[in-house]
Every structure is written in structure tokens, then in C-alpha cells.
């Protein structure tokens, strides 16, 4: 097996006395749709926050394309080709839908203060590229029509899609989706699944955290289960579903409700 795109080895994150993630090992190959599941508080979002540089791991290593990215600043990690969405939607609320995506395209350009004021031809071309890429990303998530509306005027499902467009426009190698289907109705979930498959088909590796089991089992190629910060197992959806400890930790509880 060639080097994985993203590799976590012995990733441990503690907050004071609480161990949120405990010696997690994961290998995500290129062009994979990988899901990370587990009960509430299992540490899934914390894993994402560590990968994207928001939290500094207490121990362990994160490598991306063979390069150690542990403890790097989020903006550097983003520049390497890791994009993400947030569990509790973090859009630029008062800005237009288009501007949200154009900010996501920050990495495409180079223009600074001088470019902003003087606007040489190169910068104009760059702006065109940003606008085109933003239009494409909005088209993909079906929000091009609403490009001039304020981000916070969108419905919940639309906001989740806008976050995907904002992440995608930077042409990442890997897209981390933190509960993308949360708050969506069944039709929206169906559309979202198709959308994610479309994105994956373009060669973008997908790593998602999700609560909706049906969604995960239908979409993911491989699933990793986390409980209390520890990995219980990794496998195909079928393997995971038949794993006893998973049923105990997660599905069992779900069914008991």
C-alpha cells in the first residue's frame, strides 16, 4: 500500500484531566470516503480540530502526504490542501453567499494590499479566476441562484451546502465534513449524498463525521468507530455493523432510545 494521504499516529488530545482523544491511529488512503462515527462526546470533532490545526495534539503525529503537519497553524494546513466544514455552521453570516465562497478561494490568489489598490492585470485575472471557481463551487452545491443573498438568510440545509462550497472552492486534496447531514430532511440528505459522491468522483478524498447511520453506511467505503476517544474498530460498513463492541457502544444505545 502506498503512503496514505492522511495519517494519524498515536493522536492524543487532553483538556485538563479529560482525555478527548486517546492514542488514535488512522490511515486514510487517497480517493476514499471515510467516515468517523461514535456516540456524542466520543471525540470526533476534536479529531477534526486537531487535523486542521485548531487544537494542538497533546501527543502523537499527524502526517499529510508524508509531511508532518502536527501543530501547524490552520492557515498553513489549509494551504496544503485540507479543507473542512464545521459542526456548528461557521459561515461569514453578514456577507453574501458569493463572498463566503470567494473567501474560501483565498488560497487560489496571491493579491495583497498593492494588488487591491493598483489592480495590475495579473490581479484582475486572479479575481476572475476566483470568481469563476466560486461560481463553479456554488453551481455544484446548487446555490448559484442565491449568490447575492446574505449567508444567514439561507435555510439550515442551504447553509450546510454553502459551507461545503466554501471548503471545496480551494480545490483541496481532502475534505473534512463535520456532520454535513445534521438538521437536513430526507430529501436534502439524498441530494447531499449525491453531491458528496460527485465531489469524491473528482478525486477529492472525503473524511466525514456523521450521526445518521443510514447516511454513513450508504456513503462511506470505510468506517472508523470511536468511543470515549478510543478507536473501537475500522472496516467496511458491513464489517462495522456486525462488530459487537460497536453495537454495544453506539448502535445499542441508539436502539434503546
Amino acid at each position: 500500500m502506498s503512503t496514505p494521504l492522511l495519517e494519524l499516529s498515536g493522536l492524543t488530545i487532553r483538556f485538563g484531566g479529560l482525555t478527548a482523544v486517546d492514542r488514535l491511529d488512522m490511515k486514510i488512503p487517497v480517493s476514499n470516503i471515510r467516515a468517523l462515527i461514535g456516540p456524542n462526546g466520543a471525540g470526533k470533532s476534536t479529531v477534526f480540530n486537531a487535523i486542521t490545526g485548531i487544537y494542538r495534539p497533546t501527543e502523537g503525529r499527524i502526517t499529510f502526504q508524508g509531511q508532518d503537519i502536527t501543530g501547524k497553524h490552520p492557515y498553513r494546513i489549509s494551504a496544503l490542501g485540507i479543507a473542512r466544514t464545521f459542526q456548528n455552521i461557521r459561515l461569514y453570516k453578514t456577507l453574501s453567499v458569493l463572498d463566503n465562497v470567494r473567501i474560501g478561494a483565498h488560497g487560489i490568489g496571491r493579491g495583497g494590499l498593492f494588488g487591491a489598490i493598483v489592480r495590475p492585470p495579473g490581479i484582475k485575472a486572479e479575481e476572475r479566476r476566483i470568481n469563476e471557481a466560486s461560481g463553479d463551487a456554488l453551481e455544484l452545491v446548487g446555490l448559484l441562484r442565491k449568490k447575492d443573498e446574505r449567508a444567514d438568510s439561507l435555510s439550515y440545509g442551504e447553509q450546510r451546502r454553502l459551507e461545503i462550497a466554501r471548503a471545496l472552492v480551494s480545490a483541496p486534496q481532502i475534505l473534512l465534513l463535520d456532520e454535513p447531514a445534521a438538521g437536513m430532511n430526507p430529501q436534502e440528505k439524498e441530494r447531499l449524498m449525491l453531491m458528496i459522491q460527485q465531489i469524491a468522483a473528482r478525486g477529492v478524498t472525503i473524511f466525514l463525521v456523521e450521526h445518521d447511520m443510514k447516511f454513513v453506511m450508504d456513503l462511506a467505503q470505510q468506517v472508523t468507530v470511536l468511543d470515549h476517544g478510543r478507536k473501537i474498530c475500522t472496516g467496511t460498513p458491513d464489517e462495522v455493523q456486525s462488530n459487537l463492541s460497536v453495537i454495544e457502544a453506539y448502535l445499542g444505545k441508539e436502539e434503546a432510545v
Binding site: 486542521t52 485548531i54 497553524h73 489549509s78 494551504a79 459561515l91 473567501i103 483565498h106 490568489g109 494590499l113
Partner: protein, 305 residues
């Protein structure tokens, strides 16, 4: 040019208008820091002061051309702005505001104690160079520059930090770099305004750049509508004119000024132009004008605004 103006305009009006233009440049600087980038600054007057002293001193001691002095004033303030921008790495919100206030007070006390600045006696003998025309042109350039900055990759990064700094970082934006840049550019504007101010008043005193002045500029920016360029222009104009208009009430004028600040905030908490988007508003007005001219079709769908 100035001579020509004087034939048509009373000297007093010329002075008030010049002051408005100067303050507008300073206020636009704070608009970039606080309104666009969302970094609270309670010490903007210190940058105006640094610019004013740097410009005045390079004129008095080195005899440099006036515009070079103003530019130096801007650069000196920008340098100080970089210094103040760095704490924004660790401090956010009110805490950053308080730190900038502390910095500004320290600057004031230092200016008060330096020999070269004339200390508390102030610095006199600055030649009068600032004209209304120049101040007006520079204010216009400042407004134009601000529009250009805001409509660019650079400006979008600043706004992203204001809206959500964590999301911005995850979008590849180096928050510290952009925050420090915003402080530097905003302070540059303040410094240029200071340079003009020095060559307008011809006398400087550190007490003129204390926190009261900082809050005055902050009020310009907030009262017009935080984050809006027309808001900043309007806020600066109204609040600079206000004390002049209230001059009839002599000693009660600042009392009324304070009172009006409270009243305006209560009735327009988001600023006079807060939440008003000028372009669509203009379009609507034009639309309704056209509507009035053409007779109604009688289908009952004609929307009046």
C-alpha cells in the same frame, strides 16, 4: 485655489471643512481596523498624535517638503500600528480594546515628557501648509482607497476575520498577518491625518491625543454605522459639525453633544446607516420615481415603496 475659495467662503467654514476632511482620513483608518477587521481599538488618537508629531518635527528640524513630512507621519504611525497589532494575536474583543487604550495613554505620557516634543507646553511654530483643497483631495483618495481595499482578496480576508476568525484561518487566512496589516494601514491613515492636522493647527499638545480624542474617533465610526464607508463619512461630518452648530449654546454645547450621542445610539443602535445598504436603496428610490411617472396598469400589483 485657496484664494479663490476664500472669495466665496468665509474663513471659518473653510476651517471647519478642512477639519472634517482631516478627521475623516483618521476615521477611515479606524473603520478599517474596527469596522472591517473587527479589532477593537480605543487608542486611535495616539496614532494621529504620533503622525502629527513626526510630521511636524521632520518639517521643523529637517525642513523636508510638507508632503514628505505627512508621509513620514503616516509611516511612523504605521510602525506603531504594527507594534500594537501584535497583541491581537493573544487578545480579542474588549481586552484588545483596553490594551490599545493603555498603549495610547503611554504614548501620550511619553509625548508629554520628551524634550523634542516640547512636553506639556506643546509644540508651536509649525508652518501652515494644509489647505482645504489638499485635505479634501486626500480625503477623497482615502475613501477611494478604502473602497478598493474592501473589494479585493485582501479586504475579503479582513472581513472574514471580523465575521469568524476560526473559519477564516481554516480558509487559509493568516489571521495575525492580516490583523497586523489592518492595524498598520489604519494607523497609516491616522498618521497622515495627524500630519495634516499639525500643519493645520500649527500647534500640538499631547493632551489633544488622549483617550477622549480616541473615543471621539470611535464614535465617528460607530455612530455612522460600523463597517460602512458612507457611515464613517457621515458620522465624521455630523459629529465634527455638531459642536460648531451647538456653539450658540456656549457652555452647554458639550453637554448637549454628550446627550445627543446617547439619544442617537438609543434610536439608531446600529448607527445612522447601520443595516442600510445604499445601493439597493438608491435603486428602489429610482424605481419608485419611475413608477410614479408611468400611469398605473390597474392590475393592483404595482408595489409602492
Amino acid at each position: 485655489m485657496e484664494e479663490l475659495l476664500r472669495q466665496y467662503m468665509n474663513l471659518y467654514y473653510i476651517q471647519v471643512l478642512t477639519l472634517i476632511c482631516i478627521m475623516m482620513i483618521a476615521a477611515l483608518g479606524l473603520h478599517l481596523i474596527t469596522g472591517v477587521t473587527g479589532q477593537l481599538s480605543f487608542g486611535h488618537a495616539a496614532f494621529v498624535g504620533i503622525g502629527a508629531y513626526a510630521a511636524a518635527l521632520s518639517n521643523i528640524h529637517w525642513g523636508l517638503p510638507f508632503l514628505i513630512c505627512v508621509l513620514l507621519g503616516g509611516l511612523a504611525a504605521a510602525l506603531a500600528g504594527v507594534l500594537v497589532g501584535f497583541p491581537s494575536m493573544r487578545l480579542t474583543g474588549d481586552y484588545l480594546g483596553i490594551a490599545t487604550l493603555g498603549f495610547a495613554e503611554i504614548v501620550r505620557v511619553i509625548l508629554m515628557n520628551m524634550d523634542i516634543t516640547g512636553g506639556a507646553r506643546g509644540l508651536a511654530g509649525i508652518p501652515r501648509e494644509t489647505t482645504l483643497v489638499l485635505a479634501f483631495v486626500l480625503a477623497a483618495v482615502a475613501i477611494w482607497t478604502m473602497y478598493r481595499i474592501q473589494d479585493s482578496r485582501f479586504g475579503r480576508a479582513l472581513v472574514a476575520i471580523r465575521e469568524d476568525d476560526i473559519a477564516a484561518e481554516c480558509n487559509g487566512i493568516n489571521g495575525l498577518w492580516y490583523k497586523v496589516s489592518a492595524f498598520a494601514i489604519g494607523s497609516f491613515f491616522a498618521g497622515v491625518a495627524g500630519g495634516l492636522y499639525a500643519h493645520f493647527l500649527q500647534y500640538l499638545n499631547p493632551s489633544g491625543f488622549g483617550f477622549a480624542k480616541s473615543f471621539e474617533i470611535l464614535t465617528f465610526v460607530v455612530l455612522g454605522g460600523l463597517g460602512s464607508i458612507p457611515g464613517t463619512v457621515l458620522g465624521t461630518t455630523i459629529l465634527t459639525l455638531l459642536p460648531e452648530v451647538l456653539r450658540f449654546s456656549a457652555e452647554y454645547r458639550m453637554m448637549m453633544y454628550g446627550l445627543l450621542m446617547v439619544i442617537m445610539m438609543i434610536f439608531r443602535p446600529r448607527g445612522l446607516l447601520g443595516g442600510v445598504d445604499l445601493l439597493p436603496l438608491l435603486k428602489r428610490m429610482l424605481y419608485s420615481l419611475r413608477k410614479k411617472q408611468t400611469p398605473l396598469n390597474g392590475d393592483g400589483n404595482g408595489r409602492s415603496v
